[in-house]
Symmetry: C2
Subunit: 200 residues, 2 copies
């Protein structure tokens, strides 16, 4: 993607980014996922549909970014331990999943993934890779502290942590409380810090 | 639910059970979740709608049972170790999740859980409790073998294992291969067998 130079009177890219996400969130709350259109998002954001498509290839991508997290989520703060970092990450992910916007979008993402392997691949490339980068940074720090006997597979940790939270909220329909969240993190930390070898 | 006595000329309950589930599976494959009706399932099964409602309180329950698993899934075979039992359970659950019928039903279950707290509660009472009973039996055997320093919370183990599989198949859209499945199970077993205390 080539960004053109910005004249003094034009909104900056970051302003358009924010306007587009804000417009998408408003529309989601007002009309629901099915009725949101790229045209309406562009009009509400005061920009062009082309400007939105330069950022998101589909409505599913736009609404995921607006409702759940951006393609590059902010890194988890360094709490000084793997247990602390994973607890902080789990709380952040749970909080991302339980907003009204996320509750509106998540079932649609599952439907989209089931309907279209191409949409699933794009969502993986754009959003899952961002989530795994975040997990990877946490595992990097733990490795640096000497907390991990072996380097875990980042996809496994992502599956277990993201899966436990998603499954609880959206499949079982039971949001984990602090104790349940702590128990999942504790189990994960115990597993990660005691495995002597990765299975082949 | 009161079962009436069966005369010699009437189909037995277990025959009706199977006919209803078979009819639901056929209809799912032929017309898809949205177009299945309880009337059509009754007609196809050669029974009454009342007979279906004695077994399942809603279309969602009938189709979950037909496509994924019964309210009381068969117990996991005793393989002689926690690692073996959890691997067998994980393979069974993955296989249950990846049939064409389950792929048709799972997104609808997520949509139903998001739409109706009452439907979510029923699905938990009927199906999640069956899944947790299965996990519980595996943990009971491991406790009996002396493999577990403490009794784990069954809901945590269910969330982690079920969640990792569901998330992979239906959210990431990436079915875990044997190595990925083994890595999840290995992490879980390492965590369960080394935790010295449950977090409070």
């Amino acid at each position: 993607m080539v960004r053109t130079g910005q004249g003094p009177g034009r909104p900056r890219d970051s302003e358009i980014d924010e306007a587009v996400l804000g417009a998408a969130r408003e529309l989601l709350a007002e009309v629901g996922y099915a009725a949101v259109t790229m045209d309406a998002a562009a009009a509400r954001a005061g920009t062009s549909k082309a400007a939105i498509y330069r950022r998101y290839r589909s409505k599913a991508e736009l609404l995921f970014a607006a409702a759940v997290h951006s393609p590059a989520p902010a890194p988890t703060a360094d709490t000084g331990s793997l247990a602390g970092d994973l607890a902080a990450l789990a709380r952040r992910v749970l909080s991302d999943m339980t907003t009204p916007a996320a509750r509106e979008v998540a079932p649609q993402v599952v439907a989209e993934v089931a309907r279209s392997p191409e949409a699933a691949r794009r969502l993986r490339d754009v959003f899952v890779s961002g989530e795994r980068a975040e997990v990877d940074a946490v595992l990097d720090r733990a490795t640096g502290r000497g907390e991990l006997p072996t380097r875990p597979d980042v996809a496994t940790v992502h599956r277990v942590l993201g899966g436990a939270l998603f499954f609880s909220v959206f499949v079982i329909g039971e949001e984990p409380d602090e104790a349940a969240l702590a128990d999942v993190v504790d189990l994960l930390v115990a597993g990660l810090t005691t495995r002597s070898t990765l299975p082949s």
